[in-house]
Symmetry: C2
Subunit: 481 residues, 2 copies
């Protein structure tokens, strides 16, 4: 284990954290929240100095193996969350550190489940930091590090593989550093466009900025208790579009930027993603219309589409309390929250490409019985998916199910109802945010015991980092010579 590189990466991250905290500090100054601004200022100073001293000397041995990439990523996310939680405690917003950590992990992992019972009274600068964590976590803080720091390519690809969602990591260009830069520029571009459109649609500037952070990071923190219900239908429609766009594999945008629309639209995962979104919204619209939830068919479709997009991209915004919808609609939303968004997007969940591989692998198995001599191959985007990837994906399903089951048993100790227990695990492991019952769109996670909160925090990190890094880190074998 290359401890030198772990140390170096962590202290570099601390410097980046210091830089990121400048934004909420400025917001504090603007809104005359001087106490909080002072807190942010001190934190910036301390983190910068400590980070600078710790990462002053680059380690001699910069060689990194896959397991070290996974380990660094997991440790980095935990440390980052522990640092990011400090402002919540020091500003008095969330005095309990465990709760603050829950909120921060929920932020960075773009889960969006909150322990706050109300956000209306929270200071603007703290709210800003809260939604900004979504933006930081959405594309990945290590990918950001790669974009700004000069490193060996071997180091970079392992970090990128560990932090990026999806069964296969694509490099657009030969150098990982350049891929990371391109990713962040696309990400920033989408964010700025959404901010502008939301502002034009009538949102206050502060809301336009913070909600854009929450949207493009597919996070889900809102800046007032009314949530998205507060905004006009046009603003909501803009949010739908940007949630949907950020659940798309970012490779699509890279192809589009390079004027390769054919390649961009050939990606099967994206087609199935949008197809499923529309079909599901249609089914739910009919279901809630017939159940008399809303009088207008158009509004039924609008809210159905909002919920479907919110859940599929694992954003977790809500316009209506879907916990009150018929079971059929709730079940579809539940299942879509598990499938999640596309690989290589900012969304969470199991990922559409994995679902496709699982479905095609299952179909192969059935074909094999009918035609034992047929070759068992899984195709995707007209290419064969190699055996190792199929094996990894099926193993991933196994790890996923095991994590889900073990988490559910522990959380069940709190003795909340069946629905709350199951969906709280589903909502954190898939980085959605709200579940059903007590953790429904109108509820929150504050009532859980410390043990359950720790499990759910683990699940959020495991979900964001796609399970493997966290398990690699807790395996003693990893740390042995």
């Amino acid at each position: 284990m290359n401890y030198g590189m772990i140390r170096y990466t962590l202290f570099r991250l601390m410097r980046i954290m210091a830089a990121l905290l400048i934004l909420p500090f400025v917001v504090g100054l603007i809104y005359k929240e001087y106490d909080s601004a002072e807190t942010f200022f001190i934190l910036i100073l301390v983190m910068f100095i400590v980070g600078y001293l710790g990462s002053f000397k680059k380690p001699a041995n910069q060689v990194l193996y896959a397991k070290e990439g996974f380990a660094i990523t997991a440790v980095a996310w935990v440390v980052m969350s522990m640092l990011g939680a400090i402002p919540f405690v020091l500003t008095g917003t969330i005095p309990n550190y465990i709760d603050a950590l829950f909120e921060t992990i929920s932020g960075f992992t773009t889960t969006g489940g909150s322990i706050l019972t109300s956000v209306d009274g929270v200071e603007k600068s703290v709210q800003f930091w809260r939604t900004f964590t979504h933006w930081i976590g959405g594309m990945g803080v290590l990918v950001f590090l790669l974009a700004v720091v000069r490193n060996s390519d071997g180091y970079s690809i392992h970090l990128m593989r560990a932090e990026s969602p999806g069964p296969v990591v694509g490099k657009f260009v030969p150098k990982v550093k350049d891929t990371a830069k391109i990713l962040y520029l696309i990400y920033l571009g989408i964010t700025l466009v959404e901010m502008a459109l939301l502002k034009i649609s009538g949102l206050p500037l502060y809301d336009a900025i913070t909600i854009s952070f929450s949207t493009v990071g597919t996070g889900g923190f809102a800046v007032n208790d009314a949530g998205m219900g507060n905004y006009s239908t046009v603003s909501q429609a803009i949010i739908i579009v940007f949630m949907a766009l950020c659940g798309v594999n970012f490779t699509v945008y890279y192809f589009l930027l390079n004027r390769k629309p054919k390649e961009a639209f050939a990606i099967e995962e994206v087609k199935y993603y949008f197809g499923t979104m529309l079909v599901a919204a249609g089914l739910i619209a009919v279901n809630i219309y017939r159940a008399g939830i809303l009088d207008s068919a158009q509004m039924c479709f609008h809210h159905a589409l909002f919920s479907v997009t919110s859940v599929m991209t694992t954003t977790g915004f809500g316009t209506l309390d879907f916990d009150k919808w018929p079971t059929f609609s709730k079940m579809i939303l539940c299942i879509l929250s598990l499938t999640g968004a596309c690989a290589g997007s900012t969304g969470g969940g199991f990922k559409f490409s994995r679902v496709l591989i699982i479905v095609r692998n299952a179909r192969n198995e059935l074909n094999y019985i009918v035609h034992p001599k047929a070759v068992k191959r899984v195709y995707m985007d007209k290419h064969t998916v190699d055996g190792t990837t199929v094996k990894s994906v099926t193993a991933y399903l196994g790890i996923y199910v095991i994590t889900f089951i073990v988490s559910t048993i522990i959380v069940a100790l709190d003795n909340f109802d069946f629905q709350t227990t199951v969906t709280s695990v589903a909502a954190t492991l898939n980085n959605i945010g709200p579940g059903l019952g007590m953790v429904g769109p109108a509820g929150n996670y504050s009532e859980f015991s410390v043990l359950s909160k720790l499990v759910l925090m683990f699940d959020m990190l495991a979900g964001r980092l796609e399970l493997l890094p966290l398990f690699v880190v807790i395996k003693p074998k990893t740390w042995r010579k």
Copy 2:
């Protein structure tokens, strides 16, 4: 597709059904239920004559491929259930044919979920037939056919593979016919021992016989509304032992009969099965004791063990209404109902050996990251599990999850609560019987719509035949030249 062999097998099955119906006919005579006895008598006559005429000539082409084995098995189970439902309708016990079919499929697949709101008033001969379906389905009616009919070995192994639960089918002896005979003799032996013990423990003879059918078939139909709560603790303990024994891979008994205890106790799946059973019962006992469900710690363990065994073996008997237990206990029972019993047992569910393969495959994946050069092999009973089996098992998990999800969405249309919807699918797909909520130990399946009942029937058959045969049958490709 060898239609000749399908026809031949179906008509042979009809003759067997005629023979099996003799038992409830005799019970009808004993209890002076002459109307029902007459109905059974007419059915016996008709089925025997039709079956005899239809299977008079053996088809010239007796060659069978794997897909035909699967297809015959699926068709045979559907036809068998359709025939087995007739007595329920004609005796007036369940006038609606769809409901009668549900009850029969639930019987043959050893699910044990009922559409009857009360069984106290049902005639003895009909009750007998109802529990007898469990016994017939437990070991498999085609295995029975193999044991009594002279057939080519190629025909036999395909049928046996399609009907027997588990990822790998073991032949004890070179000839499948002999293996089938040995299996049925062991099965009959266990049944007779349980009947004797239950009689000695104080049960009426009728109850001892019928409850033994339900136990060794791991079915779960009871013959009175009080269920198992009616019987003494000693009788309940006997039932625990026999449920547990019938959830064991029958290979163990074959080894024991042949005085090979070393081989018998080396089977890992069986060790994990009993280990999990005891640990889970201990956890639940502590949980319900602390929740104050019962005053006596011993009785807490007794009922916890009863429930755990009942659920793991997918029998579905209940001594207490576990729907009223704390969420932790309910969650453990829920999860154990999914893992199910051992392969090669009469129990349902996902099967312990598959769980082991999934867990070990997942562990391999993690090891692979830490040691990329390590060879990825899954071991079981100290042998390597070949790649095809691992692939089949992981594909099986995929098919299982997909079936589960699609079923849940359709059943959700009935708009029962979340818990009822999810657990009704889980309880049928895993052949358990009771779920939670409306379909809990104190509830039943009568309220569902016809569509949901059809889906749940499909799930019961899919669960009993381990998914593949039913899907092979509904694939149009199977029936094409």
